[in-house]
């Protein structure tokens, strides 16, 4: 290795000695301070006592020396005095030499750069966590909007199940619904010997039969442009001619009655075909929605009462219609006259049997 000329070595020595304020502390095998020198004041070593243990005077030496492999570097140590030094530990004549090089300026420079870098990183972390929060909130918002839309559709569907579409629309517009309809036909149908048969087949079968019967009633009312108003036990109430008026309401409901009877006869209830008693009457009624929480679209008036009484007077599997309904039916319907019948609230009335 080339050795630098003495003049350069001296120059380098002076440069480092002055620029870095070099100081040393010499420590013997018993960890006692045996000598010190250089810029001792600069590093706060003036009061260091020779012949006394080093760790009691320089706290940072606590625990460091036993078994230490030298040389050992501890860069940029800020001592309790506030001074910053690079520490180098060397081995020479069975002693440890502690070399102090001032690093205050270098530490200051490094700190400024690191401060900026960490502040930037902290900002980025904060930004990322804010972004994550924002995204989570957006996601929650989207979710609740979806739930709301689903809820709306559900309530919409429920409303349409219990109310005719045009009535539901008016109800949503906060309209009071009570309409006079001058010309409609009303039908009641119930199951023959329902109570006894229900007892003999049990609840499960009964519910299944009722379910199929009401489903058929719904399906047919759609097909014939009628409205199923409600079911009462095993009885179903259907109307034609509202909410939109139609001239052929009696014929539409008569066709409905014939098909409902046919559909019922395909069902087996306690070993026999499902038999219905059906009654029809035509006339003016009042229709409206009552209730605030549970809406019910219902019909009122003498026409309704009479239709119910005609139905109750019918024979099993018979479709019994009033004179008023009969007058509205065209020649394509086959009817048989029945003897005059006494009906409560109406006196003696003429009734007909619709056969086909």
């Amino acid at each position: 290795m080339d050795v630098l000329p003495r003049a350069i070595r001296n120059w380098l020595y002076n440069l480092i000695y002055h620029e870095r304020s070099v100081a040393y502390v010499k420590i013997d095998a018993q960890h006692l301070v045996v000598a010190k020198g250089g810029s001792v004041e600069r590093h706060g070593l003036s009061s260091l006592r020779i012949g006394e243990p080093v760790a009691e005077q320089l706290e940072f030496m606590e625990g460091l020396l036993p078994g230490l492999d030298l040389p050992y570097d501890l860069p940029m140590i800020e001592l309790p005095s506030g001074r910053v030094a690079d520490l180098h530990l060397l081995s020479e004549d069975s002693c440890v030499w502690l070399i102090f090089l001032d690093a205050t300026v270098e530490r200051g420079n490094k700190q400024r750069i690191q401060q900026k870098a960490y502040e930037m990183t902290l900002l980025q972390e904060r930004l990322r966590s804010l972004n994550d929060k924002l995204q989570a909130m957006n996601e929650a918002l989207r979710q609740s909007q979806e739930d709301l839309a689903r809820e709306y559709q559900r309530s919409e569907a429920l409303l349409l199940n219990v109310l005719p579409a045009s009535i539901a629309e008016r109800l949503k517009a906060h309209e009071q619904i009570a309409d006079d309809h001058a010309e409609v036909s009303v039908l009641f149908a119930d199951i023959v010997s329902f109570t006894e048969k229900a007892r003999s087949v049990g609840a499960e079968t009964t519910v299944a039969i009722l379910n199929r019967f009401f489903k058929a009633a719904d399906l047919l009312s759609e097909r014939h442009g009628c409205e199923k108003i409600k079911t009462i036990g095993d009885c179903v109430m259907v109307v034609a001619g509202l909410p939109v008026a139609r001239a052929d309401h009696a014929e539409a409901l008569a066709r409905y009655a014939l098909e409902l009877r046919k559909a019922a006869e395909c069902e087996n209830f306690a070993g026999e075909p499902l038999g219905l008693r059906i009654g029809l009457h035509s006339g003016p009624i009042v229709a409206g929605v009552i209730g605030k929480k549970r809406f019910a679209y219902d019909l009122w008036g003498d026409t309704v009462n009479l239709a119910a009484r005609i139905q109750r007077s019918a024979e099993p599997a018979e479709i019994r219609i009033s004179d008023a309904t009969h007058d509205l039916l065209g020649p394509s319907f086959a009817c048989q006259p029945l003897s005059e019948t006494e009906l409560r609230g109406a006196g003696r009335v003429r009734l007909w049997r619709l056969t086909a």
Partner: protein
Amino acid sequence: MLQKKICMLGGFSVGKTSLVRRFVQSIFSETYMTTVGVKIDKKNVELPDRTVNLILWDLAGEDDIGSFRVSYVRGATGLVLVVDGTRPATLAVALTLRERAEAEFGAMPGVLLFNKSDLADQWAISDLEMNELKTNGWPVYLTSALTGNSVDDAFHRLAEMVAH
């Protein structure tokens, strides 16, 4: 006099320097000042049977664990691991630093501090996670260098651990 070297370890900006200042000088500054290299401080802790002089090595916090200078830990008899309770990633950093230190110098006693407990609305560490760490090793403290909450308790506990 009984003298023990203690190292403060943890990610950057978790509050190591602030905890030492709170413990040694009972002050707190809102201004963030990053530590470069290491700052050495000391404080006597009175135990029932003796006094321990804790020599606190406040090591520069880590952003990138690769730059951690394990040689500073030489001679330490105890560790203070510091986590920022509002930044969950600093828990992994603290645990990795402990592993690095113990791989080099062997297992040693220590305490685990979840600092910044005053920032309750930004807290990001679950009770479940803290309980798990409590049952799995070191005493765990919820500290605040700002309010001083549990700071003395944690250092006293560590003083007891290293003095016996």
